[in-house]
Symmetry: C2
Subunit: 309 residues, 2 copies
DNA sequence: TGAAAATAATGAGTTTGATTCAAATTTATT
DNA sequence: AATAAATTTGAATCAAACTCATTATTTTCA
């Protein structure tokens, strides 16, 4: 072609990720590349079209007209590419699998439902189901083949299981805005000693507040109260009946509406990784990997505060 | 990304060109690559998605479902990419140019009009005009700066002019279907000695039948009759008033309707290249190169029998 | 404001993937 | 069956894209 810019899909993916994350570092993590790679890539593209694509001086980068034009293109193309690739996978993979799921992290319903909706459109023949029981250990069930996919934040080592990281999130403490701890920038373990902790009804070790924060400091809360629903937890917190630790993205939508504030757990905060656990034999299966891919995309698109890998 | 096929725009361009040309050789020429490159490229892609994209055993390749799916994608994406690149060029290039055109090949109106229509949508500020006079030499006018673009099939050497090849076409002899020469597979120069040649009213040397076919064999036709309109030429041929030589693509649409047949000129046929002539200073100017690009695309899309470069 | 941390840019070197070349193989043509 | 055309293949080449290590810039916060 004569008037060639030499635009490639990777350019569009980069710009797309850059807008979504707001920084090269994060975008790079999302794309499994180095920040340097993206920097070079964009610079090269800019030199070819003879213009800047975004203004670097601002914190979330501000895109120029040219950059915005390419983002528009990315928004048009990438989904179409995605659909085509799904179609090809289905054509090739052929076999329709089974997808019995369970979640360990109860807040996950929030993004799991939209994920399933999107996924079902392209894999109509995949049989999906939920193991909704609250009181059994999903990972052993996965090993035994009763389940096919488990969303979990603490991998349990096993040769037959494979853990694919979905994203990272921060565990925050939710407190009433009238709570004395609002005075503090971040929470120390001993701050929680006089508090009533509201948690999901799962084993102690499964909860990151205990496992990664209070237990290491050898601190116990005044009391523990378990509730099954996130919304109810927040009601209790708002009405000063206790405090609770929840993922930042699960809290995000309630911060404005309710009388709740959040604080970091420890100076650096507690960061967790959410994984999709599957049996090793399923690794690489198109219908499976595509579900995970869809899940990731859904999360990054809908959840505030989550980070790649 | 997890379930990555690694599809690239170059794959889509290749498939697209393959469908348009019907063979790897031609597709490669269209993309300015070797046919080997395309072969490797496709094979690699096929191995990644685990299926064949087209059946090679047939003359025009028959695409598989997977191949068709990718072609659908190509039809969606490539135009969008094209538009975006045009927008970027315009954003960058800024200056709106002038485009005074002239054609030496009279049949060219057929594709020039659609080209201009498409082009104007994206370069509304470029001022376009035609030098429609039939009896002046366009190339000198181009040198003098009176024109900006000339469509010609015989370049005249000059340091300040640049020739960009658009496509190749075959010059065919059009004869009545009751004409005795229909007996022959292909035409020899001496076959034309007793014939009345119908031509456009331009200089003898400018006509490929004479320059490349009869002159070298030192043969003259019985008589020469000039007409300005292609359609009238064909009417005369059909009613046995003479024969004429025209580009294959100009003839294509009349072959079914009228009582006309065509024959190759010489065993191998006469192949001509059509060029866009511009002043060297304009080479690389976005608005100019993009016009030429649009012209090429229009031709390949609308004209039967033309070949890349 | 100045020091430390985070983020981005840069240059050199490396890797990977894409392309070419030359030769072999297959397919079409006479 | 023989020749020509198109395609495939493998090895070598080339260039784009990436990483690593370093420097520069920006942001944060004491």
């Amino acid at each position: 072609m004569t008037s060639q810019i030499g635009l490639g899909l990777h350019h569009l993916k980069t710009l797309h990720a850059l807008r979504q994350t707001g920084s090269l570092v994060e975008a790079a993590r999302m794309l499994h590349l180095t920040q340097s790679a993206l920097s070079h890539q964009i610079k090269e593209l800019e030199s070819r079209i003879g213009m800047e694509l975004f203004v670097r001086k601002t914190k979330p980068p501000r895109f120029t007209t040219a950059g915005l034009r390419l983002l528009t293109l990315a928004d048009e193309l990438l989904p179409q590419v995605r659909l085509a690739e799904q179609d090809l996978l289905r054509l090739a993979g052929g076999e329709s699998g089974r997808l019995n799921m369970a979640i360990e992290c109860h807040s996950c319903f929030q993004w799991l439902m939209p994920t399933i909706d999107r996924y079902r459109e392209h894999w109509p023949e995949v049989e999906m189901d939920f193991a909704s029981s609250f009181n059994f250990a999903p990972l052993p069930a996965l090993s035994r083949g009763e389940l096919d996919l488990v969303i979990t934040s603490d991998p349990m080592n096993s040769p037959e299981l494979e853990y694919i990281p979905l994203f990272q999130y921060e565990m925050l403490l939710a407190i009433s805005r009238r709570h004395p701890l609002t005075e503090k920038e971040w929470i120390e373990p001993k701050d929680l000693e006089p508090e009533i902790m509201i948690t999901y009804p799962v084993e102690h070790e499964r909860l990151a507040v205990f496992r990664d924060f209070m237990d290491p400091a050898n601190i116990e809360p005044e009391a523990i109260r378990t509730v099954e629903l996130t919304l109810m937890m927040l009601q209790l917190v708002a009405s000063q009946r206790g405090v609770c630790a929840l993922p930042n993205w699960a809290l995000a939508e309630y911060l404005d509406k309710s009388h709740i504030q959040t604080r970091k757990l420890g100076e650096k905060g507690i960061w967790c990784t959410l994984y999709a656990a599957i049996r090793t034999e399923h690794k690489g299966q198109p219908y499976m990997m595509d579900f995970i891919e869809t899940a990731k995309e859904t999360c990054f698109a809908r959840l505030n505060g989550v980070r790649p890998v």
